[in-house]
Symmetry: D4
Subunit: 222 residues, 8 copies
């Protein structure tokens, strides 16, 4: 129950809604935690890393307990209750290099929306087609925070970092093969970005990037 | 002239003062770039990664050219002209695990101050003496952004990340020996932080952490 | 039959009960070894790394041979005969960062109990919620030995090492993803602990930690 | 001042004498910390990782301040005041594979003696000459704790772990070349020891092994 | 058809019987190569890395074509025709640390026997029970070549290397878990052996060790 | 004399002028090889990896023997006799991310010019300032081959690879610090480039890139 | 849709036919992209990394839509419409060390043929049988570009690089086991080739090698 | 005194002359050990890894004590007394890829000659010039054992392994730069050799290869 307990602690401090890390928990555990949160008065709960098979099991428990929710297939995430209205400083731009990075991006997006942020998606604008990326320059420049998500050589973070004045949170993905060594190539690339203003989270950690981006977008309300 | 050119680009967008990455440049190159920036109307310039030997050479050129400046020995950084007054949302807390991490921390601090941020230093509060860290909980909780700097096992980032509601930028340092593999242990530790809201920059990259923290602290002015 | 033979050697020296490493042995081999040990007069035998599928097969052989035993599902371990009564100097505290670390922790606990130690479990007290850990400070401080088990960034070992005066045996786990590289992040973190008095065993090696902790708790009887 | 502060915290809990980690501190810092400790009533202080050049500088300050002490050249360590008389349960055996491992071993020995332990040195008994090691079997078997120190392939820990019933703390050293990768070969070897009852500290960390061995040897007094 | 072709080249030079590397070949390919070799007059053929499932398919083809052979289950190897009588200088001792290393050892043994060597098996004599190993000292000392096979910490090679005057070929195995990193721990350990006279082959490469040992045992006949 | 002999072999096939790899050769060896080549009728010789100190020694020998030559300081290379006139299909563009990459770039350029290629230098156009790179798009698009040289995150290769229709040879450099691990970050980044048409040479291998680029630029003359 | 979009960009510049990277795309996505390309007037499309199971699904959609095509089983690639006639400068030689490297080689060959190149296959000529390789020296020497493909120790690239005057593109494969670490051994080997004129692509990246080889073979037409 | 003691043990078994590993020993220690060996009746002693500076010091002690000896500069080795006459089965061929590998080769050669072997040197025959290597095929084929020494991509071992019927001992060297990672590239290459009959020793370990080759060359006398 890592996340759950942890965020109960955080919540006293932050008022943020509840988040459960679904990987490594059984459907029964997830159903139980959610039920107990709802009876504690939570209006909504986010469950991440919930693959479709496990969701099928969770769904049965939710149906039996009349728990209204929405499952986000690409993001492998589930939200009970209603999404919060956006109340951040501005919007967060979520950018990906390729289509294979989209599941990680959607995890970031659902997290952001759950935490009350407006999100603009800028997908499939990898640096090998730089003019496609530049066509989206305006939407990138208008963001309060940019999340740059890429596998393979992870060059997207540097190019985006050089274009915008907002902080960039880079998410390396495990997309690729061979000498990408499970995401290591993109990870090292992003850590060594020649652009200032870029920081990095764990490989495939869309949730972590979304969570921190929300903090930044709400920094005046902390 | 990596940084220099780059930031000239950035500057058009951001209005940020100029920054020169001193490592890998000769004293002559540094003197030349600074002179040319000043004649272009720059009120102040920050030079990072300028060790004492190189500074001694740079100093001669500055004296000859009447360039007023201040050298920050621990931070291995130099600022020409006057520091900007703090104008961010709040203050940035810079925390270190040990005394050996202080040079990296000071690089972050000088960068932050140069970019117009109030800084509070919380040094030598490594997690092996958790009660010493907790005595400083209040100053950590009041910050807009926290920079957590540690070598060895890098556990500081997780503990701090669990204490505050502000975003945490973690800086692994190369402090340690043996199985720290030049900072790899702290780097991996911070990337795998179990606390939400933590992102990471390159090993020993105090400048990068300071730069992004300033962006976050000025996020409403972007 | 690695463990088995080895511990027959050890046993002449130590009088400790028998232990069989179940991974890489067929159910038939396990049944055979246990039977032969019992006919050699062993009162009890511990089988570790015995997953549920293999246990199902072993169970059939035990039933046929009338071998009384108990299977510990979470620990993936089996003990024949009766557990020894605790006879160590004091108790051993077994601490985990998260719930996913519990299988490793239970392997340590069953090993400890099998070897005649009192165990106190302190689970799910990861450093991202430091105050939850501190609420358990007293039980940690009373222990003769502490086993600190954590995946991801493995920071628990350092924080616990700084709190107690007893030796700490750290067990990195493979819990996590991406840049945890199968437990490497927690392993390096624990080896580089800034707290004195911490030593480390192999990734996920709950048995090894329990075995050494028992040695320390019985050090006056060696 | 990492160690220093840290151990002041520890000391309130443990009554152990003071320890300063000398690497990364200037001679002036070391002199200052020792002076302040002595004026706080410390009867003795241990300074580790103090190479000969730095000691020469420290010596001047000590002479000027009339601080009586002894410098242990091989251990690169210094102790002020008098050594504590041994008061542990038994003695600690410190074993090395080769002569090049002796500096690490002596760091462990001085630490142990400083903390009140009787030490028996068993040097240069590497496993390639197994009969030489076996001639010392009796002294190994009589110890309360064994510290096994080896570089290269680090096999010593496993062989010793199989011989004794006491806990073994293994210290990999960086002795070797080529594919030893700075101590990685011995480190991995020791972590994967097929003998039960072995735990491991950082590469070349003689101090850490000595400190934990002392804890175990004093476990009844915690 | 790597091996096959290659060894046809070798064979012109060496007169050695034929060897086929079975991994990565379909049952059809294996049947085809064997048939063509037999019609070319080969008296016997060795097929390595042939797991049981694949053998079941190969068996059908052999039955249909009346190819007499023997399948060695533990070695995952197959030999057509008759084994050569031993004609080397002396015998080769094949030693393993644990029972899990036996499949690799048997691959070496079948290779050796196929190439006309007498083999003595010394299994399950890991260094954690050094006295068990020493009981077999005589058989080890009598060998022309020793093959030392071990996973985990791979210490066996060094101990055996120190005992005998014959060349030792060390085979690291992937046996173990966690920080064995797929055999890397034993590999590095063996490469850094402090005993003279030890060389190393690839992880799990029983065939390679057997092949070279046979060369050495027949060195006078080259 | 690696290169020297090797290229004598190559030369029979290619008619290319002679090349000597200077690293790891003494000044005396270099002088001797050059003298012998000249007396064998070579019109010109290229010596690479010749740092300034070694050149000072070589210069003495050359002066004594009346060997006319030119030393290229940034490239750390020396050419005797006259440069060949450009005779390739078109020109080769040599692009760098930063100024610190220039020594590697100049090694490529001198190699190219020595082998009869026209070169266009496009330096200091790192991807963090993408618009600066795009201003040079035309010169890049006109090249027969492009050599893309970058350290840190090495993203330049992907962006350039996406812009041009010519083959791109990527050279990772060791420029950077911390998690660049001596050039590994740029190397992995370039190997995983999402742009088609990019291949990679060893870290800092400007010579190798120049040599292959010349082959491609002369492909019709092979 | 990484490749697809990217190559649409490229195509405007290059006139090359379309290429789709099939891995990580669903059969439905592939069918959709191909259909849309055909309706945009594409005469042929190449789909790479399309394993047999996925092809079975794609086939249904193609049959329903009357899309004529050919599936290349070994290459795991599919081409719609007709292959272009060879129009390069000369032919490309594709060389492999063993038979297990052939799938990667065929991916290169189909890519080359699709892009209008004549291909000569030289398979199974690994360096352990050097005379077999030398028998093919003539066909290697006649090529405009050579693609050298090998797993295990990857030595083929160096030997071939020393034989020919054409540029060599080396493709490391993941063929092998144990210390090949998923292709790392061949990759490092090829990057460190002592032969001049060799560059390297990602592990198993037959497509990338074929694509760049085609660029070189068409370099006069760029 | 690692080697020294060790070989005293070995010597009782083998009658081999004495060997001292000079690295990590002071000149005084070396002089002392040699003197004591000579007074114990040793006719000759080999000291390895003795660089020139240290030799200069050792020389003074030898001169004072009238110890006749010869220093082998390239091999960094010293032999007291007279070399043994060759008495092995045949000769050992020592092959190198380049000239930079010669110091490692000479260490092997001096070791071999000291142990009574005839040696044939075949230097600078790297695989990039395969025809040069083939010109020496006859001398390679006549050897009882071949030692193949190479840095960079280490391909020499595979090519030689495919040419001869004798066992090949491969020595990877640290020669190279960048992605050779201190000899790792050659090491992995040699471990993954596609030729049968190749085994490997540590990076730069000329002594180890020579020692084992001598064992094989004397295998009938063991």
């Amino acid at each position: 129950m890592e996340y759950a307990n942890l965020d109960m602690d955080r919540r006293e401090r932050t008022g943020a809604p509840e988040i459960i890390y679904g990987a490594g928990k059984t459907p029964e555990q997830i159903i139980g935690i959610v039920k107990s949160m709802i009876s504690n008065g939570e209006e909504s709960v986010l469950v991440t890393r919930l693959d479709e098979d496990k969701y099928t099991e969770v769904l049965k428990g939710f149906t039996k307990n009349n728990i209204s929710h929405k499952y986000y297939e690409e993001a492998r995430a589930l939200v009970t209750g209603d999404m919060k209205a956006p109340d951040g400083i501005g919007y967060v731009a979520v950018v990906t290099g390729g289509t294979s990075d989209i599941p990680v991006a959607e995890e970031a997006c659902v997290t952001l929306e759950y935490l009350g942020n407006e999100v603009k998606r800028v997908y499939d604008v990898g640096v090998a087609g730089i003019h496609r990326l530049l066509k989206r320059e305006k939407v990138l420049k208008g963001a309060t925070v940019v999340i740059a998500i890429a596998g393979m050589e992870g060059a997207l973070a540097s190019v985006v970092g050089g274009l915008v004045k907002a902080p960039v949170i880079a998410v390396p993905t495990s997309v690729g093969y061979g000498a990408n060594f499970g995401g290591m190539s993109a990870l090292l690339s992003m850590l060594n970005s020649c652009a200032s203003g870029v920081s990095v989270v764990n490989i495939d950690n869309g949730f972590g990037a979304g969570y921190q981006a929300s903090m930044i977008n709400h920094v005046t309300k902390l």
